[in-house]
Symmetry: C2
Subunit: 436 residues, 2 copies
């Protein structure tokens, strides 16, 4: 291990004419008559190494792909090499040799295997440059999310994932054996992040949420990463939509600036966030869809996925926008803490953000008066006792507040136009998948 001198494959281009040390995996070996081309893959990229020494070629031929190597050699500019540089006259040290070929062929431009096979072998499959770089996009997204919020005086919190009661929706929670008692996995940090508005006024969290939902679709997962925001002293949901717009802009900026190579490799079509994201009220959205499709949506309290797709196409057509806010969903479909629209109380001060025709973010203003909570809880037949700790915050002064939650894996899948969320989750969890 010559750790001090070792450079990334992506840095080789700055060292033409010098001798460098690389380390990584035997990605591919292409043997021609006189010369062999070794492709070395490291955590960031790949590099072509020209091997002419017959003894070394013989030695490399004995190795299976994914063997771990340290390579020293001369950097030579060569317009025919991928990336315009290659390594010549290498000396190679084998760090870990392997006996078996990998279960997934990693050296091809795309993985040929079926999704279940890929997921079964995720520890190896994730090494494929395309699969790997998706997760660098996730990391950059988290970076941009936090940066936007820290710059605006938001404080990062970590709320508990084991909770004492299934307060948000009984059917969809996982039950835990907690020292012989029943406890549950948190479906969202909603109640905790609201309470924390009383402490810091502005908070955010990046963490796992757990949904025991039975539906098996390409856009749901039983465990995912939620980017949560909540803040106080807002005017109404419009304040929240403004913040979300700025956060999205910073997330996209972080992707452009920090992982441009990943964007290029994945040929990702990274959108612009409009200065003002177009906004449509729920009832207007329904009318538009009815006009266009003839479907009768009266008394429908929510939008179906097909409606969201239609609206996404409409926003693209009318505003050239990949994003569309739908506001004012009916109160009846929204959770108990939702704040009504003071002018039309059957509708809420809430919103969904559609991104390329799929719901990406849900947010809104919450109730902040203790008395309003008591009414909402009674109307829904919920048990106030289970919420006593939460209601205490409202009994002792809370400002108008609200927030939103972005699903990280769903964001990356829409951003990269990948249809199945399992392909943008490191180790996805669904009804049949607990391993790896």
């Amino acid at each position: 291990m010559k750790e001090t001198k070792r450079i990334w494959t992506t840095e080789v281009t700055y060292h033409v004419g010098k001798r460098v040390c690389l380390a990584g995996w035997l990605h591919h070996l292409r043997a021609l008559k006189q010369v062999s081309f070794l492709i070395l893959r490291d955590g960031k990229g790949t590099m072509q190494i020209v091997v002419e020494d017959p003894q070394l070629i013989e030695q490399l031929t004995q190795l299976q792909r994914e063997s771990v190597l340290v390579v020293e050699g001369q950097v030579v500019a060569n317009p025919q090499a991928p990336g315009g540089v290659e390594i010549q006259h290498p000396s190679i040290t084998v760090v870990s040799s392997t006996n078996t070929p990998p279960p997934i062929e990693l050296f091809r431009p795309t993985i040929k295997a079926h999704l279940p096979t890929i997921l079964d072998h995720a520890p190896v499959a994730l090494r494929h440059p395309c699969w790997r770089e998706r997760h660098r996009i996730s990391a950059a997204s988290m970076h941009g999310f936090r940066k936007a919020l820290e710059q605006r005086d938001f404080v990062e919190i970590q709320t508990p994932k084991i909770v004492g009661a299934a307060t948000e929706g009984g059917a969809n929670v996982f039950e835990i054996n907690y020292f012989g008692k029943s406890a549950y996995l948190s479906q969202s940090p909603q109640l905790y992040k609201q309470v924390m508005v009383g402490v810091f006024e502005r908070v955010f969290e990046v963490g796992p949420v757990f949904r025991a939902e039975l539906h098996d679709t390409s856009r749901h997962s039983n465990e995912y990463v939620s980017l949560d925001v909540e803040f106080g002293f807002i005017h109404n949901h419009i304040t929240i939509m403004h913040l979300l717009t700025e956060v999205l802009r910073e997330m996209i900026l972080a992707i452009r600036e920090r992982v441009a190579q990943s964007v290029a490799l994945l040929q990702a079509n990274i959108p612009e966030v409009p200065q003002e994201i177009p906004t449509i009220h729920f009832t207007e959205a329904q009318e538009l869809i009815t006009q266009a499709t003839g479907e009768n949506l009266q008394n429908e309290p929510d939008l179906a996925p097909a409606h969201e797709r239609w609206l996404g196409a409409w926003a693209q057509r009318e505003y050239s926008s990949d994003f569309l806010f739908v506001t004012g969903y009916p109160m009846v479909k929204r959770p108990f803490y939702t704040h009504p629209d003071p002018l039309q109380p059957l509708y809420s001060n809430s919103f969904d953000l559609l991104f390329r025709g799929l719901e990406l973010v849900t947010g809104g203003q919450r109730l902040h008066q203790h008395a309003d909570y008591m009414v909402a809880i009674q109307e829904r037949g919920m048990k106030a006792e289970l919420l006593e700790w939460y209601l205490e915050a409202f009994k002792h002064g809370m400002p108008p507040h609200g927030g939103f939650a972005i699903g990280l894996e769903r964001w990356v899948s829409r951003l990269l136009e990948i249809s199945n969320i399992r392909e943008t989750t490191l180790f996805p969890r669904d009804q049949t998948r607990l391993v790896p």
Copy 2:
């Protein structure tokens, strides 16, 4: 809500002579004969507001503490006011009035209640400036941790918290009902972060870990936040200790630079990280303790808390260091993936970092050869089938690697010299506490 103009109480000092808008909670009201002093608390600090208008005083007297107010007034420099400025000639809007006094008196310099009462009322108690600012120190620590690692090309990952098998230690895991099957809560991202070294080479994670441990001490918790690091192409555990030293330095820098006001409020004694943290081998540490105390530690495979405290005091005496690395713990007490010391195979290439006499970080080099894993698993009577997905990574080429994990709440508790970890956890979980 005059959101555009509203400033933080901590910014008032820059607006002397101007009229400003503040928002926050009625922290305290002190009524003298002619004048009353309203202390307004917002998410960052407090501000004194001088009220002379008898009608306004009368109105404020009717309000309970923790009512939410918006205050506009004139900023006046006054050396006698806390912080040297105060607000005069205020106009006050009540945003949320409350009927009941808070269950915890928040306006005193420290909370007088007993810990269980404080924890029961955490949604209110966390509003106390001292309790609140501890968590701003946590947030700054996470910021510094991530910054140090992102600067060194580490990629942030999010690994699953629901796992299919209790692979690291069967007794201490929480069991979940996962669609009628048994699953478990992750005790650590250890196996996943190792596998991800094969993908990105350098990874980190900030996330919850779950330990169903029965011991009820002031330094353990059943759910806590783990700051995890893992990286490849290391020489041995010394490479890891160097990185950890740099990460700690960045965490402390972030605290000094980003939350200096919290440090001042909490009168926290923030340590220096020595250029090189002193290091002692496990066997030497035992000898020292034996020499000093007469205790016979032969055949003892671990250090007891009292020994760690003794070593902490010794490091302070000998090196003026709050930190001490203890290396080379016996293999017998370390997990199956631990890499032995090649020169003395009964001891490991591992370390603990003691901080002020308490184990704060555990880390070390891991095995990286598939064959070594098979032996280690067999020797410990573990089931290789349950680890098949993990072992696949080693079957297909892994470099020498290792990492560490820092317990966030423990770090903050030692940093602030707070004895009970429950006081640095937002909503702690122990055998008897699931709520709030």
